[in-house]
Symmetry: C2
Subunit: 700 residues, 2 copies
Amino acid sequence: MGELATLFGPRRVAVVGATDRDGSVGRAITENLLADFEGDVVAVNPTKDEVLGLESHDSVGAVPDVDVAVVVVPPPIVLDAIREAAEAGIRDVVVITAGFGESGSEGARRERELRELATEHDLNVVGPNSLGIMNTGVGLNATFGPENARDGSISFMSQSGAFVTAVVDWANDRNLGFHNVVSLGNKAVLDESDFVREWGEDPDTDVILGYLEDVVDGRAFVESAREVSGETPIVVVKSGRTEAGASAAASHTGAIAGSEEAYEAALDQAGVLRVDTVQDLFDFGSILAGQPLPERDGVAIVTNAGGPGVMTTDAVGDSDLSLASFTDDTVERFQDALPDEANVYNPVDIIGDAPVERFEDALDIALADPNVGAAVVLACPTATLSYEALADSVVDLQAEYDTPVAATLMGGSSARDANERLSQAGIPTYFDPARAVRSLDALREYRAIGDREYTEPETFDVDREAAREILESAARRDTNRLGVEAMDLLDAYGIPTPDGEIVDARSDAVDAAERIAPDGEVVMKIVSPDILHKSDIGGVAVGVPPEEVGDTYEDLVTRARNYQPDATILGVQVQEMVDLDSGVETIAGMNRDPQFGPLVLFGLGGIFVEVLEDTTLRLAPVSEPSAREMLSEIDAAPLLRGARGRDPVDEGSVVETLQRLSQLVTDFPAIVELDINPLVATPDGAQAVDVRLTIDQEQL
Amino acid sequence: MGELATLFGPRRVAVVGATDRDGSVGRAITENLLADFEGDVVAVNPTKDEVLGLESHDSVGAVPDVDVAVVVVPPPIVLDAIREAAEAGIRDVVVITAGFGESGSEGARRERELRELATEHDLNVVGPNSLGIMNTGVGLNATFGPENARDGSISFMSQSGAFVTAVVDWANDRNLGFHNVVSLGNKAVLDESDFVREWGEDPDTDVILGYLEDVVDGRAFVESAREVSGETPIVVVKSGRTEAGASAAASHTGAIAGSEEAYEAALDQAGVLRVDTVQDLFDFGSILAGQPLPERDGVAIVTNAGGPGVMTTDAVGDSDLSLASFTDDTVERFQDALPDEANVYNPVDIIGDAPVERFEDALDIALADPNVGAAVVLACPTATLSYEALADSVVDLQAEYDTPVAATLMGGSSARDANERLSQAGIPTYFDPARAVRSLDALREYRAIGDREYTEPETFDVDREAAREILESAARRDTNRLGVEAMDLLDAYGIPTPDGEIVDARSDAVDAAERIAPDGEVVMKIVSPDILHKSDIGGVAVGVPPEEVGDTYEDLVTRARNYQPDATILGVQVQEMVDLDSGVETIAGMNRDPQFGPLVLFGLGGIFVEVLEDTTLRLAPVSEPSAREMLSEIDAAPLLRGARGRDPVDEGSVVETLQRLSQLVTDFPAIVELDINPLVATPDGAQAVDVRLTIDQEQL
């Protein structure tokens, strides 16, 4: 156990504000604590002599050796109570009382003071505005909910207290147990990252589940989740996913949330299994707690009913699992064991008249096949089959092979006892076979997370000082938006750009063109911080031959002046022609999320970004394998690999550009937004043809 | 009721093969019939005097006035039994016996004879290989399943008998009732189309549910479903969706299935709500049977718990419903009725201490709002709230407003009674609020189906004879694949093509170019049925100036000869240049599905088809609104509407091309496959620049 060992495993708990008043929170908590807790319960309430049979103390400091103070006094005296506890040496506090950050400026002030107090005394504080905490391992129920959880190996945190009561009530009805339960409340001190870290070190927690509306510190959460998720699965509903949901969440928690895209990328990079629904949260949590991980993706389906077998096969087709191909040996064994009408290929149909022995034989043969990583046992009720006996066989065979199994014993009352037996043994069972398959697929997904190798992002040798000088010179000009004049910034970070020069006289333009492309064509672009869409005003000339460079220079400047007489014109960029025809236009960009910091974006340019929104994101810094993944996960990825008879582009060069971009935006928090568009990828490398960025001068 | 009125509502049913042998199917059926059936049950078995207290007759012809014969005799004597029944005037037969089409050539022959017998005597035959049928309206359970269904307004057909037993068992446990239930068996005579049509006319059937692995006659099914689906919702799981599932289905039913894409298009055009899972099938069926349709898309969420409220809002965001905006008046009413801390905007959070009266007030106000089309009542268990009382209020208010409501009373045992009360009143209730919202969204989707106006496909004035002559002349040349030489086929059907001519001499090429583009450039293409990929062998020349036409002619012919010396070369096509730059390359195509006939395809050309597979399909014939939908539903649709600063293309011209193409392929079943690629769409119209088709000479 980690730093919160005492919080979850106290020997003595004091209820500060204990009372026997009917219907009060103080009474509910005291009763819940008295019910099962293995340690001592102490009542603190200066207005009482006795509470529910306990001697009532005037102050928490009056009782020795208290490990945890559960505070339920009215808001104005919460801080005093905590101070008293801290001074008595108590380090772990659960604040049930509401009326803090969630309720106006007075509450917000109180919450700030609570945070300061916690820092001063190095306190672990749950809440405020929390339903409380549970640890079934020691019978601790320090909540005011109506029911205590059953014992289990799932630890669950929730940003909604009401949801905790609902879940515990529901889970008790379904033999689903918990190890720890935490109602996070306002997360003034302890937040999701703390509990993830704690449960990651807790041998009694097999799975971490969370309902979150935001995370307090995006980067800290990613870091702690990444450390834990390889060993302990973390499954999270992060609500406020949709626009409507996000605005509902904001009005509920008052938090400034990061963008949905940032959460999506962050949770994925942290190895968190993100789910969208309560059903998936507990389906996935249950199977992760109850079943081993599959060693391969092949699923065997064993059924007494062809039709449902087809539906289950469809569900496998929808998942990232596959239907296992049986070995010849397995097929032969099925042929020996099953009647002639049976289907000995996957899905194995053992025919409607199958007794339990035939089911058992078939499952045994299937689980022994080296291509089978998981199995679905699928049955419809028949006169010849005892569901209870089938459940027993499935439990035994699952244990014998230690291969994950999910069940669908279809039916209502006829399946109830069998389903109870299966779920008690940790084998999930659903009426809908698609749910069984989905759960197995969650095991596969988690196995893939466990298999990830974390690669430290590479640090390239760059000219950081040159980059700083470019940004600072922009700041000195009081410019927040930069365009092609910032190509040097890319050069400084080793991102390939076409040869180019910014000139501010006709003759210099001619000289530059002569140097860049002797006798060849060049591209010319107006350079002005005030003109964002150069193409729209005819500010870009492509394929300019040597004899027209001078006139084109004049022409571009005139157009810019006509378009916006007061625009600052820095000059004209003369640039090497990049052969767009042999290349693919991509875009590499960055935006900075309030919660998670810089996010690196990749996609194909043009319609792919603008119309199809076919892009992908990663939190910076981006490692090499991670940048490579970005290239492969966009829909248009085949175009990079040389679709339609073209040569594949040099992916390595694009990958390195993304890494170098990631380093640049990590080094300079002043860069708020940056787009390399297009980044032209050809078989010979990538080149950044244009760039646009926004800086925040305060951050320099 | 329709043609199957007697089948489902007989006065006298004979069990042919009735027996009292333990564990036999004949006994199970006789017992099930004796249990609740309002009419008479007659036993037929020449080897018995009495069966289960019934006099046993030697032949079904020996008893007068039998309406339905349920046949359970061994396979070899099934046909005799049916013939006897037919001769006794019985028109409705349920064949339980297996050993027909599903089992070898002997069985297949038997099934063919059964079909002939049915045609000869005009029989309605269910099965063979069926579990039987039920009609709870008259207590008819002519199945050998272990349980009878409860009474309800859902009629359910299933291509899997095992699934019927599972569903009935499960549904009985959940207060879900059925009106009719049919196990379709091998569908030798009566198939899904017959039952859809029957139930569409049945006032006791509110919803039709189906589990199908194939349909017997694709076009007939679409027609009957389209007739019915406007009045009675049809929800179907069509399994074998995925590649793995399709091959499992083929081995299960032995049917040659249509393609998944064809089913998808056909079910959609037929107004069938297609679902992928058993859970959705019954969730959607239940709400469609229990709740009215929403008059608008706005959903009100009323909850005592903020967190679950956010999750529910996310679920609304995921759906095609929207969060209702309340009127000012409604907001004021909430402000008056609710405590200060409440959220009076949607989702309405009435705060954790809400008693049932506050829930009732809030729901009442919400349902009265003119922007609210449906409501979700969402509660977590609290000490102040009685779930049972809440359920009563919800049932009353739902009935009062006749607005659809779904509920999520979270919890386990604490919610059981309340949930039972709600579901008895037809209000769906789930632990996961996402499921409640999904169900409401199914109501919306069905409302949209009901709102569809069916437009008869237009018939254009075309030169059918010219088209026939082109196809027949190809057949005379024994050519199955046609290319640009078939452009005239498009002309005959009024599909715009660039001006062009096929020539077979150098001088004719020069003359043709002079006529088509005096002093301008032309496109030239080799014309050969043996060269499919003209571009790959350099068989296409674009932008040929007048002075090069002659040489280019020679060059193209030489290249073709070099590439394939024995190729039949029909000549060279000289074609008007089409300005690809101002246009969007689209593709209009057709392929013929074995089950559903011609399907018309539309998409953008190039990468959109090849890499992104961004296409859409319709069964021909395609009406104008339907063709217009095709243009709008591809992902790249914005490109047609003028994305990126371009002028929108003339969509009407593309739409008309799709309609005319649809007419062409409907008129000529000999056209097996046809692609117009590219069909160039510009602001001024669409032009078919190239075409390729395959014909089946047998069909001419």
